[in-house]
Symmetry: C2
């Protein structure tokens, strides 16, 4: 996934010679806490936050160019950068949004942290059930019931918890991947549990084939 796929294209831009007051009204109406400052060709030249604006209003600065941060001092990404990079930059620099540029430094969009949160959290919200369905399809000759039975056995073996295959099925219908990795203590452990289940159903399948 690339930066351009998760950026906000409904962004607001302002120019360096607009007044601070003008720009404060635009940012309030469009509910933007930060906005890129561009030249006449829409190229990024700077960046202002609403905190620069409050300071500008209080201190009587007239022009955006007097209060803005210059391009070289701000985090920006390229439209074809991996989305991962924007995620890392937002987290590293603790910013609420990042301008997205093309090869000519023209602003094409803005990455907002809550858009990143939405993208990342979709991963977490996948139901564990879906992963088991994919597993059932991959493991030819294994039924859903066999998978649930093996899961209940592995759960009991690893956690000591007595759980029926039916209860296990209900649990994975109710829980998300995010909950599961928090519950099992991390991604590797969650995956090891799946492998253990896979190993058990395969061993049983092999044993059946021999009989």
């Amino acid at each position: 996934m690339k930066v351009k796929e998760i950026m906000d294209k409904e962004f607001v831009v302002v120019s360096g010679d607009q007044t601070v007051e003008e720009v404060s009204i635009i940012m309030e109406n469009r509910k933007r806490l930060v906005t890129p400052v561009v030249d006449e060709n829409k190229r990024l030249i700077g960046w202002i936050t609403s905190l620069d604006v409050t300071k500008g209003l209080r201190e009587g600065n007239n022009k955006v160019s007097q209060i803005m941060h210059f391009k070289d001092d701000i985090v920006h990404v390229h439209e074809n950068d991996p989305a991962r990079l924007a995620v890392l930059e937002a987290s590293r620099h603790k910013v609420v949004s990042i301008p997205v540029l093309n090869d000519d430094d023209v602003v094409l969009g803005v990455i907002r942290t809550f858009d990143i949160v939405e993208t990342l959290s979709k991963l977490y919200e996948i139901k564990v059930y879906k992963i088991f369905e994919a597993m059932e399809q991959e493991l030819k000759g294994i039924t859903w019931d066999e998978l649930m039975e093996a899961s209940a056995i592995v759960t009991r073996r690893t956690t000591g918890e007595r759980i029926t295959p039916e209860e296990y099925e209900q649990r994975i219908k109710d829980s998300t991947f995010g909950e599961a990795i928090w519950a099992t203590g991390g991604l590797e452990k969650f995956f090891v549990g799946l492998i253990a289940i896979g190993e058990l159903v395969i061993a049983r399948k092999v044993a059946r084939a021999r009989e």
Copy 2:
């Protein structure tokens, strides 16, 4: 993981009878785009953003109580809510931060979207290599070389790509879970690939045992 484990405890609060100008200086100095408004017992009564402040400064409002949003109109979470809830709320309401309250409505912290991004992205940054190491430990009697060989075979079978076990090993050393799920086309597909590798090494182990 609970909300209280990822909240920012270095938050700033203001009171309803502080002046807008005073508060604008506090928010600028502490670099806070939003801040909770509390009563004398630190209980949440409202919320202001720096956009409320720019409007207040421009329109000559004097007190925070004149420009704030009231508690009932803003998103807030409880300290013991699952962190997942804060993630969903931030994404659903498109906010940059959320106040965290205890049972008495006292503000204990603030969840900031970039802190959520940091937490979520840590999951993505786990090396794929680590998952294979966990798999090797779980699958008793399977060597690392057998695992790499099976991985190269499964990759060729599913994607047509000719890759040596050594190249596969290098790839998983270089790539993260985040890159892998984007590359394979989603979480389920990534897991199915791992399950297929597990199935192959187990089948080979069984065949060896029979000989």
